[in-house]
């Protein structure tokens, strides 16, 4: 997830900026709601006619509609600012989702995730560097791809780019490759999960550990089941919390080679890279655990989170440009794809092992 700053602005500028978001927000809502409408219409039709049709979640419909619009007509400029807010809705949705977790569950599943993430990150970073060397990629592009595929997709790349003084072009390549692979995982992960008969928890953990970008990980989880989506978000959030440490490691490595600026205050650096929405998620989870909300209120918060995710999933489709992916060339994509396959298999093995030994 990208991190953007909204600097203080004069009131008239604020009003103009907010107004500029409206068309894109309406497009997100229309695409997301169309997905929901199609899912419900198919369910109502099959029920009324006593026929069977595989249940395709609104998540997939919303993404596909968005993909078709983005890659046929394109997203006109007037909609682009509002469409870009999908990350904002993702983060707000994750914070609200905290209400569906008791803090004990967060610590239990988060602890398991942390252990698996640590193992997966160490192995995948090593593997990606070997792969980058074999494909003769620029070492900084390899670093960006390694960070993106082992931690948190786009936001990790954006966090790492200034820290290691990488080129804009390298960062764009790495982002395009990560987004392409994220889109592919949306279609392949649920199929693999079903064919292996993974439990909701095991699948959610796998999606959260293996799918790079938070929006895609959330969608891949939700495509399997509601419960799997919940676990995927928790596992992915744990992964996100580690961005700062990995980026700091890379920044220290490249500055020791004289190819990036020196990191001054390491604690301040870690804090600046820490995804703050994780704290919001924990706070809402703590409040829910302490009984701050009544049962119907918890249901309302969960539904608000679903509505926020609906806008997110529409945005995932609308911002995926197949033209951009073709433009990037095959080598970064090949390194990303082989690395992703390695990470997917590795994390699947880890989740299987954890399921047997730790009883997820």
């Amino acid at each position: 997830m990208a991190t953007t700053a909204l600097a203080p602005a004069r009131p008239e500028t604020m009003v103009r900026r907010t107004t500029a978001l409206v068309p894109g927000l309406l497009l997100l809502a229309a695409v997301g709601y169309a997905g929901k409408f199609i899912e419900q219409s198919i369910a109502a039709y099959t029920k009324a006619h006593h026929t069977t049709f595989p249940n395709i979640e609104y998540v997939l419909w919303a993404i596909v509609i968005g993909l078709v619009i983005a890659n046929t007509f394109g997203v006109p400029r007037v909609f682009q600012a509002g469409v870009a807010t999908y990350e904002f809705w993702l983060k707000a949705g994750i914070v609200l989702l905290g209400s569906r977790f008791l803090l004990g569950d967060v610590l239990h599943l988060g602890g398991i995730s942390l252990l698996l993430v640590a193992i997966a990150i160490t192995l995948s970073l090593t593997f990606m560097h070997l792969l980058g060397r074999a494909f003769k990629l620029n070492p900084k592009l390899t670093s960006l791809l390694a960070v993106g595929s082992s931690i948190c997709g786009v936001s990790a790349i954006i966090a790492a780019k200034p820290a290691i003084d990488a080129d804009d072009e390298d960062a764009s390549y790495a982002i395009a490759a990560i987004l392409a692979l994220g889109a592919i995982s949306l279609f392949t992960f649920p199929l693999i999960g079903h064919s292996l008969h993974l439990s909701d928890k095991a699948y959610g953990l796998w999606a959260g550990l293996a799918v790079d970008n938070t929006a895609e990980a959330t969608a891949a989880g939700a495509l399997y089941s509601d419960a799997a989506g919940k676990v995927a978000v928790l596992a992915k959030t744990t992964r996100n919390a580690l961005i700062g440490f990995i980026v700091l490691g890379y920044a220290l490595y490249w500055s020791s080679r004289g190819q990036a600026h020196v990191v001054g205050n390491k604690a301040a650096f870690l804090w600046s890279k820490f995804p703050k929405f994780v704290l919001g998620f924990l706070l809402i989870s703590l409040l829910a655990t302490l009984g701050f909300f009544a049962k119907p209120q918890l249901a309302s918060l969960a539904n608000l989170s679903r509505w926020a995710f609906l806008l997110t999933f529409a945005g995932v489709g609308l911002r995926t440009s197949l033209r951009e992916l073709v433009k990037q060339g095959w080598r970064p994509f090949a390194v990303g794809a082989i690395g992703e396959l390695f990470i997917a298999l590795l994390t699947l093995g880890l989740v299987y092992g954890a399921d047997l030994s730790l009883r997820l």
Binding site: A2, T3, T4, A5, L6, A7, P8, E87, F88, W89, K91, A92, V95, L96, S99, I158, A159, K161, P162, D168, A171, S172, I175, A176, S272, P275, K276, F277, L279, G280, L283, I284, L287, F292, F293, P296, Q297, A299, S300, L301, N303, L304, R306, W307, E324
Partner: protein
């Protein structure tokens, strides 16, 4: 990908606004100032 999002300089980050909105909504729900949200 023509342009990359810039990192935070001053002002509140996207995360900060998202957390603030979520907490405000949670408070409104807690105080029953919002009708029950359906899906």
């Amino acid at each position: 990908m023509s342009s990359l999002p810039s990192p935070p300089r001053n002002g509140l980050s996207l995360d900060g606004y998202a957390v603030a909105l979520a907490l405000i909504l949670a408070l409104l729900v807690r105080l029953n100032l919002l009708p029950p949200i359906k899906w």
